[in-house]
């Protein structure tokens, strides 16, 4: 079933591919732009009792376009002693991992780019590709601060990959599937102790897993309090120090687009994704869902994503950052044991019920 076959239009394969690429661009850039405006520009300003950008467009809503225009005009500086090819490649790798990540996100019952069985496995795997980009950005810059930042990033992202995977395993056990679409359906079609008013969002049954996952996402996105790799007050933005112009823009978009995509995955895994509890409309499984959910579903997912990003950003604007060793200790000594216990308990309960 392809993305658009529901509309009963026969589209040639190349047009479908083109539409998917466009859809992917929209699915990555639209949330990223919204997040930057709503949270980075406005919410942060309000939390600091100021108004944020107000001049470009109504309430500064076009500020991001102004910033993009500014960055595109700037010179693309490449340090003399940098490894030029890798240096220029690094931001693209980071952004590519975001685009790969969005490929498995389901936006509605039939609205998806790809729908394959090991979806969450794939998502967690490609999310670590960005580590590579960050590491080589730090290395290729020929800058001591960037090197420290890149190494810190590598250590941190690898350390937090593990609790993230372990937190997801609880969900996978409960849903009985690694397919993201199936996980959404399982949550919305499910019931808690016979009551199906809200379905069975795993944020309730897998609350520990949710918290661990969110902490790991925070670290994976290098947002405060886990922003040791970019640490602007000590490492002067770490691996991004030497980047300017549109390469910095790519890093910048990558940061917030990845935040958006991870928030989507978090809301798919724990908040019921694009769906509403099926009992509300008397649906039973994915085939009985009305077609209008393909339009409303993305909006629901978008709303849930904004909620999750709100929490991520709220924490980011409130907390100071950890030190590198504290961060590692927290991952290995706190998060991983907790998520292991969570898996065990989930497995026992799964067998028991």
């Amino acid at each position: 079933m392809s993305t658009l076959s529901v509309l009963a239009i026969d589209i040639p394969y190349w047009a479908q591919s083109l539409l998917r690429v466009l859809g992917g661009l929209v699915a990555v850039l639209l949330p990223a732009g919204t997040i930057v405006y709503v949270f980075l520009f406005k919410m942060m300003s309000f939390m600091q009792s100021r108004l944020g950008p107000m001049e470009a467009g109504p309430f500064g809503s076009l500020q991001l376009f102004a910033e993009v225009g500014k960055w595109l005009q700037k010179e693309d500086i490449c340090p003399e002693r940098a490894d030029k090819f890798i240096f220029k490649l690094a931001p693209l790798i980071v952004l590519a991992s975001t685009f790969l990540l969005v490929a498995v996100v389901p936006f509605g019952p039939d609205a998806w780019f790809t729908n394959f069985e090991a979806g969450i496995f794939y998502a967690l795997a490609v999310s670590s590709v960005s580590v590579l980009g960050i590491l080589i950005a730090g290395w290729a810059s020929a800058n001591k601060y960037s090197l420290l930042g890149g190494l810190r990033a590598a250590g941190q992202l690898i350390a937090y990959e593990l609790p993230m995977v372990l937190a997801v395993i609880g969900v996978v056990i409960q849903a009985g599937s690694m397919n993201l679409q199936d996980i959404v359906v399982a949550q919305n079609a499910g019931s808690m102790f016979g009551w199906d008013g809200v379905g069975n969002p795993y944020v309730l049954t897998q609350f520990v897993g949710f918290v661990v996952f969110m902490v790991a996402v925070q670290a994976e996105l290098t947002q405060a309090p886990f922003d040791m790799p970019i640490a602007e007050s000590e490492l002067v933005s770490g691996y991004m120090t030497e980047y300017s112009g549109f390469r910095f823009l790519i890093f910048f978009i990558g940061e917030f687009a990845t935040a958006g995509v991870f928030a989507m995955i978090a809301s798919i895994l724990f908040l019921g994704g694009w769906g509403v509890p099926f009992a509300w409309f008397g649906w039973s499984d994915i085939d009985s869902i009305d077609n209008w959910m393909n339009i409303v579903g993305p909006l629901i997912l978008f709303t849930k994503m904004m909620l999750v990003v709100f929490v991520i950003m709220w924490v980011r604007f409130s907390y100071p950052r950890f030190r590198e060793d504290q961060l590692q200790r927290f991952a290995w000594k706190v998060l991983i044991p907790i998520s292991l216990v969570n898996i065990m308990v989930t497995a026992i309960l799964k067998v028991a019920f």
Binding site: A231, E234, V236, F317, S318, Y319, R321, F322
Partner: protein
């Protein structure tokens, strides 16, 4: 071959030795990291040369003087009234507090004393500049440790204090309000009421910062036990101000010496802390802001009536002699040794600024810490570049 000074040679040998130590232990190569002169954590142009083993500092030395403006020399070619305009710029966040010790030294040489009302207003403005200075420290502390919100709260509430200073003196940053023999002018009407409300806001700000930053477990884990200065080391290195009091030394020049100022007329407390770590230094400063708001509150209630200026000649000539006056400035002990030969201007002025002496402990303190802790320690030592380089 380039010529090396003794000092450069010594530091080179020290660097070699540090390298050798690194190489012996892990067979790793050391790395020299220049923190500054352009670095967001150095509040200006301080340069810290750190030799790193991984992320651990093996050897560190501050390199000062990138912003040396030669104030001691400049004062020799200025008249006494002109000097206050210059020395405002030493510690630019608490400028009024810089003027006071110099003026007191000049008054001491001339054998005059400011009227009681002028002394009171001087003390109020002194404490206001302390609040403006240290409240910015409290916000900046957050930024150094990665929290971006506190600094905006600090700027927001410091603005009220700056407005007060501007309302009374006309200058936000550089009041230049102190004159030999008193003050330039009296307070404008309505100023005292405004001060009362602002002091409430400032106490509120302290509570907010305490909730947002000091109570935060991450902040505590970043600062507790980091950069511990024991009591005797603190005294040996000549620390002063909150850095010294955080090491458990109960020493405050406002209380411990008698100056023609109004501190001894009000009821306040000198806060100390026994831990001597970064958290203690920050905490003592937070308490000092609260204490300062109390001092100001009491002083504006008991403001005596009278003139703000004694009789002084129109052209001030300070009689021959030498005088040393130091006060407890926001950053620590700040003193002026003024030598006068009976001319219009001083013959020689020696400025003892707090930050310069506080910085001297950094090589001892930074040894063995991690790179993120350098920032914590520098932030908690709290220096202002103008105060180091003068």
């Amino acid at each position: 071959m380039t010529m090396l000074t003794d000092r450069q040679q010594l530091s080179y040998i020290a660097a070699q030795a540090a390298d050798a130590r690194v190489n012996l232990e892990l067979e790793t190569e050391g790395m020299t990291l220049n923190i500054g002169p352009q670095h967001p954590a150095t509040h200006g142009t301080l340069r810290i040369i750190a030799r790193l083993d991984g992320e651990q500092v093996v050897w560190a030395e501050p390199s000062c003087g990138y912003m040396h403006r030669g104030y001691e020399k400049l004062t020799e070619v200025r008249t006494f009234p002109q000097v206050t305009a210059l020395i405002n710029r030493i510690d630019w966040l608490g400028s009024f507090a810089n003027e006071v010790p110099f003026i007191l030294a000049a008054e001491k040489l001339m054998g005059i004393e400011a009227p009681a009302r002028a002394q009171h207003i001087r003390t109020i403005l002194f404490e206001l500049s302390r609040i403006a200075n240290v409240s910015l420290f409290l916000g900046d502390l957050g930024v150094q440790l990665g929290a971006i919100t506190p600094v905006f709260m600090a700027f927001r509430d410091r603005e009220y204090v700056l407005n007060l200073i501007e309302g009374a003196t006309g200058g936000r940053f550089h009041p230049n309000f102190d004159r030999i023999g008193g003050l330039k002018d009296d307070l404008p009407a309505g100023w005292i009421d405004e001060t009362r409300t602002v002091m409430k806001k400032l106490r509120n700000f302290c509570d907010e910062i305490e909730n947002l930053l000091f109570g935060n477990e991450i902040f505590q884990s970043r600062t507790r036990g980091i950069g511990v200065i024991p009591r005797d080391v603190a005294m040996q290195y000549g620390l002063s101000g909150a850095n010294l009091r955080a090491s458990g030394v109960d020493w405050d020049l406002r209380r411990d010496q008698s100056l023609p100022m109004a501190w001894n007329k009000v009821d306040w407390k000198v806060w100390t802390h026994n831990d001597g770590d970064s958290f203690a230094r920050c905490w003592v400063r937070l308490q000092e802001v609260r204490e300062s708001t109390k001092i100001v509150d009491q002083l504006i209630e008991t403001l005596p009536a009278g003139p703000v200026m004694t009789k002084v000649p129109r052209i001030i000539k300070v009689p021959e002699g030498e005088a040393w006056v130091a006060t407890e400035n926001p950053l620590g002990e700040m003193g002026y040794y003024v030598v006068s030969k009976g001319d219009l201007g001083p013959f020689r002025v020696k400025i003892r600024s707090a930050s310069f002496n506080n910085m001297s402990i950094t090589p001892w303190l930074l040894k063995g810490v991690y790179v993120p802790d350098i920032i914590t320690i520098l932030a908690s030592l709290y220096f202002i570049l103008g105060d180091i380089d003068r």
